[in-house]
Symmetry: D2
Subunit: 134 residues, 4 copies
């Protein structure tokens, strides 16, 4: 399993009148985690784009267990548990201190940037992931 | 089944560099639909708040089938298919013209606003929904 | 003076823990107004793009006089008071009912979409504006 | 002059179809800078809230000189140049590497959290700022 851990501070702009981070904002937190996860593999998202590949989200899911408050430091853990096929799934856990406050996943398809048609993931990317798994 | 249909115009601020609406923004589109769905029942969300009740999202899911572009008018359909228990589930479909571009759901729990503890939905709300279903 | 009036409903996602619309969101409200203002001239923004022209914001300003609350319907008035030169300035007023809650402006430069270099506004656009002014 | 420097990575969610960070997002970047600036004084915003004080934005201004692209690391510098009166002004500069891409300011008023009425800034806060200035 390949994983990444980042931390972000909750701003006023992330919260809503319920006093906690708005549900939609978690998908941005997931993106921040995913960005870091790919960078950690040595194959950042910008590298995929250079090879004319994009990874649009085809499904996103989030379960909200508790709320993150203004000025909390949230820890976002991202996990690549399975080798990608024509799709790649990334799992996320969001914590405030040791408390799990949300978990979820996103599924992405590999497409070419110019035509947005499905393509196979680059061999180089798969090889990197294989090595990291071992 | 109780349903609502609203329309929103896609702004630059909704899109990302892929040229289509960013995945996180769909959860805001869902909220816009949900707001209207509850208003249509005659029991808007502000009414629930007056009775000390909130409906935090406990799960959100979205499947992205295609993209909505800048200046597109998106149609957001929201559906209440099942009577609420201690939870309420709302389904969504997002269209550009006749094309379904995304579908999803949110699940909410009924909690009291002051303590954020689970409560039963107000009888009045359930009665309204029962009538609308028939 | 050319003007437009639109209305939007305040969502949870627009508010922050202070219970009113977050300051950053007003720039999105301005964009919603601007989009409509240009459409009203008969020369929508998408038309400018087709002619390889973009209007990036080079300055934005907002004065916040009062707050808009969840579920309020905000009225966004947009004004084109001066004929564009290489720049175009748009003024905004945001109301809840009859109460002015914010005012501001954005200044944009005309650039070509491919190189993002300054260009003159299209003659056709200027001609339309001249007619509307009279 | 009291100042703070933080860095953030540009996400897809921050950009719009023009390929650079959307103009509204800069006001969130400013908030991230402001949050850090106040923390650096030893009197973070959460401390003000504990003393029943809020700092709503009463004016925001941003000049956009250039764009920040996806995956850029933006540096946000925040400055407190003048001692607060019943208002406090904070200046911002946003850089990508050494290039200034935006600058702006926000002005806030001191209000009490419960009634949102203007109040004087806490003596303790003013004393801290006086010491930092010397």
């Amino acid at each position: 399993m390949i994983e990444s851990t980042i931390q972000l501070r909750v701003l006023y702009a992330h919260t809503d009148k319920m006093g906690v981070v708005n549900n939609a904002r978690y998908l941005e937190y997931f993106e921040a985690g995913r960005n870091d996860l790919l960078r950690k593999t040595g194959y950042p998202y910008t590298e995929l784009e250079k090879e004319n590949i994009a990874l649009p989200v085809i499904e996103a899911n989030c379960k909200y267990l508790s709320g993150a408050k203004y000025d909390d430091v949230v820890t976002i853990k991202s996990f690549l548990k399975e080798m990608p096929t024509v799709k790649i799934k990334i799992d996320y856990e969001v914590y405030v201190k040791d408390k799990l406050i949300a978990s979820g996943f996103t599924i992405h398809s590999f497409v070419n940037l110019d035509k947005m048609k499905p393509v196979r993931p680059p061999e180089k990317f798969l090889n990197i992931l294989k090595k990291l798994k071992n």
